[in-house]
Amino acid sequence: MDEEDSVGANKCPVCGSDPRTHPGLRFKINTKCYHRICEGCVDRHFSSGKAECPVGGCHVSLWKREWRTQTFEDLKIEREVEIRRRVTKILDRREEEFETKRDYDDFLELREELVMNLVFRTDVAATNRKLKEYAQANGIKTDPTDGPEPGAKAPRRKDMAPDAADQSGLIKGLKRIVIPEAKAPYDPFMGMPRTREYYEVKESYITRVRGKPAEAMLAGGYDFAQYMDESLLRAFAGLGVFIEDEMSARDNTAIPVPGPT
C-alpha cells in the first residue's frame, strides 16, 4: 500500500494508466490485500476465474467478484470499516442477551480488542481462529466462498453446558438458552374429541345412500359420506344419556331454569 502512495496515488499499479490521461478511469479494490487497480486490469486478469492479485509481489488469490469500488478516500479507513463490518457480523449480540450490563460491556470490549488486533495486525492468526471457532459453534456463515465444509458439525466443547448460549466459550455472561415450549396447533374444538364411538361411516353405508339419493343429494358436490356421518351422529348422539337420572342428579329446585344459571 505504502509504495503506491509514493509512486503516484492515482496511477494503476498494474498497467500504469493515469486518470489524468484517461478521463473516466475507475479503480477497484479488494478486501484481502487492499491493492487498488483499474477496472480494465480487473477484467483482464480475473475474467477466467480465480487468479492471483496482479500487483507485483502480491500472491493473494482472488475472484473477480471480490473486487469492488472504494467507499472511503483513505484505504486505511476502508480497511478498518471492512474489518469492523466483518467482526460485528460474527460477534452480533444485543444487550438483552446478557445477564448483566457488566457482561455486555465486557463483550463490547472483547469485540473492540479483536477488531483492533486485526486492524493493527497483532495476533491475526489467533484472532481469526477465535472468530472462526465462534462462527462455527454458533452456525454463522462467515465467508460464502470458503464456508464450513457441508455437513461439518459445529464443534462443541465438552466443558460447555448444553444450553449455554455460546458453545465456543468466547463470549461470557450470556443468558442461558431457554427453548420455548412448542405451542400445540390451534384446536377450534377445544380438546373435544372428533372420533366417534357408537358408529363408523363405512363404505357400505355410503353405497347404500348413493343407491337411492333424494333430490337434494343430486346437486353437484354433494358429499354422501358427510350426509351419512351427520345422520349417524344424529342417530346416536345422546343414546346413552339418561335424562331421568342426569336431571334429577342436577339441582332442579330452581324453577324454571334447570340449566346452568
Binding site: L233, A235, G238, G240, V241, I243, I255, P258
Partner: protein, 387 residues
C-alpha cells in the same frame, strides 16, 4: 361416549330436558302463578266498577280496602284452568300448527312444523294459556321455525296463506316467544337420526349381522315398513307428548321403531352394542337403554289423536269455553303493545337520544363484564364427562 357429550353440549339438553317430576312441578308452578294473576285481575276489574255493590264502603275509608278485597275476592272467584286443561289447550295449538303447515303452499316440511310445535311446548312451560292464548302464539311459532330452520317464506306470503291474519299478528309476539324459549332456537329432532338408523339396520341385515333378520327373510321390506311407521309416529305422537323433554332424540327414534317392530329394535340394539365392545358396562347399558326406550315407546303409544276420538274433541271444546271465561282480562293485546312500542321509538326521538346513548353504553359495559356470550367452554359443559 363421545356422541353423548355432543348431545350434552346442546341447548336442548342443557335447558329443555326434565324429569317427569320437575316437568310436573314447573307446570304446576306456572299454573299457580297464572291463576293467581287472573284472580287478582278479576278482582281489580270488579273493584274498578263497584257502582252498585260496595259504593258506600269505599267512600268511607281506604283503610278498609283490604278487608273489602277479601270479601269481593270470594264474590268473583273465577274457575281457572287446571294444569291438565292447560296442557290440552297447548296440544290443541300444536295440532293447529300441524294443520297450518300442511295447508300452506308450499307445504312446510314436517321437521319445521315439528320445530314450531316444540317452540310452542317450550313456551307454555313457563307461560300459561290463561295469560297468552295459544292462537296468539302459534302462527308466530310456525313463522319463527321457518326462519330458524332455513325454510324461507316471506311474511306477506305467509300471512296470505292464513285466513283473517295480519302481519302484525304474526310479528308482534315474536320477542315474547323468544323470551319464553330463552333464546334457544335449536331443536334436536329424531327424524334425521331415524334416517341414519334405517340405513345402518339395512347394512347390518345385508351383512348378516342382524341375527335371524337377513336379506333372505326380506329384511329391507320389514325395516322399511317399520321405518315408515316410525316416521309417522315421530311426526305426530312424538310431537304431541312430552317425549322431547324426557328423552334424547336417539332414544325417541328407537322408541318409535320399537312401537313399529319391537323384535327388530331388540335384535338391532343387542347386536350393535355387543359389536361395540362386550364387557359388563355394555350389558348394563343395554338393559338400561332397553327399559328407557320401552318407557318412551309406551309414551308414544299412549297418544291418541283427538281427530279420531269424539270425547276428546268435546273435552277440548269445553276447555276452550272455560278459557274464554277465565282468560286474564288485563292481559294486554300483544299486537297493540308492539305497535305502541314501535310508535314510541319513531316519535320522541329528540328527548330519547341521550337516553339511547346511555342505554347503549350500559349494554356495552354489560357485554364487557360478561364475556360469556357464546356460552361455556365446549369441554366444560355441565353434566358432561364423568357425572
Amino acid at each position: 361416549m363421545i356422541e353423548d357429550d355432543v348431545y350434552r353440549a346442546s341447548s336442548q339438553y342443557r335447558y329443555w330436558s326434565y324429569t317427569k317430576e320437575s316437568l310436573a312441578r314447573i307446570r304446576q308452578n306456572t299454573n299457580d302463578l297464572a291463576s293467581e294473576r287472573v284472580r287478582a285481575a278479576f278482582h281489580r276489574a270488579h273493584t274498578a266498577h263497584p257502582a252498585h255493590s260496595s259504593n258506600s264502603h269505599n267512600a268511607v275509608s281506604a283503610g278498609d280496602a283490604d278487608a273489602d278485597a277479601m270479601e269481593i275476592d270470594v264474590d268473583v272467584d273465577v274457575e281457572t284452568l287446571t294444569v291438565d286443561e292447560e296442557l290440552k289447550i297447548v296440544e290443541w295449538g300444536c295440532s293447529k300448527i300441524m294443520e297450518m303447515g300442511e295447508a300452506m303452499n308450499p307445504r312446510i316440511p314436517s321437521h319445521i312444523v315439528a320445530t314450531a310445535i316444540q317452540y310452542l311446548r317450550r313456551f307454555y312451560l313457563t307461560n300459561s294459556p290463561m295469560t297468552y292464548h295459544p292462537k296468539q302464539i302459534m302462527t308466530c311459532a310456525l313463522y319463527l321455525a321457518t326462519k330458524a330452520d332455513h325454510f324461507y317464506i316471506s311474511l306477506a306470503k305467509f300471512v296470505a296463506e292464513l285466513a283473517n291474519l295480519s302481519e302484525d299478528d304474526v310479528k308482534a309476539p315474536e320477542f315474547l316467544l323468544l323470551q319464553g324459549l330463552r333464546f334457544t332456537l335449536d331443536v334436536r329432532h329424531p327424524m334425521k337420526g331415524l334416517a341414519g338408523g334405517h340405513i345402518e339396520m339395512n347394512v347390518m341385515a345385508d351383512e348378516g349381522r342382524l341375527g335371524d333378520i337377513s336379506k333372505a327373510t326380506g329384511s329391507a321390506k320389514r325395516i322399511g315398513t317399520a321405518a315408515d311407521h316410525a316416521k309417522r309416529l315421530l311426526a305426530t305422537a312424538a310431537q304431541m307428548t312430552d317425549a322431547y323433554f324426557l328423552y334424547t332424540p336417539s332414544q325417541i327414534w328407537l322408541a318409535a321403531m320399537m312401537v313399529a317392530d319391537r323384535e327388530l329394535v331388540q335384535i338391532y340394539l343387542h347386536n350393535k352394542l355387543s359389536e361395540l365392545s362386550s364387557n359388563e358396562a355394555t350389558t348394563s347399558l343395554q338393559q338400561k337403554l332397553m327399559s328407557t326406550i320401552s318407557a318412551c315407546a309406551s309414551l308414544l303409544e299412549s297418544y291418541r289423536s283427538p281427530k279420531d276420538d269424539a270425547s276428546q274433541r268435546k273435552e277440548i271444546k269445553r276447555i276452550g269455553k272455560k278459557l274464554t271465561v277465565c282468560q286474564n282480562p288485563e292481559k294486554m293485546d300483544i299486537v297493540a303493545v308492539a305497535r305502541a312500542k314501535a310508535a314510541e321509538k319513531r316519535g320522541g326521538k329528540d328527548s330519547d337520544v341521550g337516553k339511547a346513548l346511555k342505554k347503549r353504553k350500559l349494554e356495552r359495559d354489560m357485554m364487557d363484564k360478561d364475556g360469556d356470550v357464546f356460552g361455556p367452554d365446549l369441554r366444560n359443559v355441565p353434566g358432561s364427562g364423568e357425572d
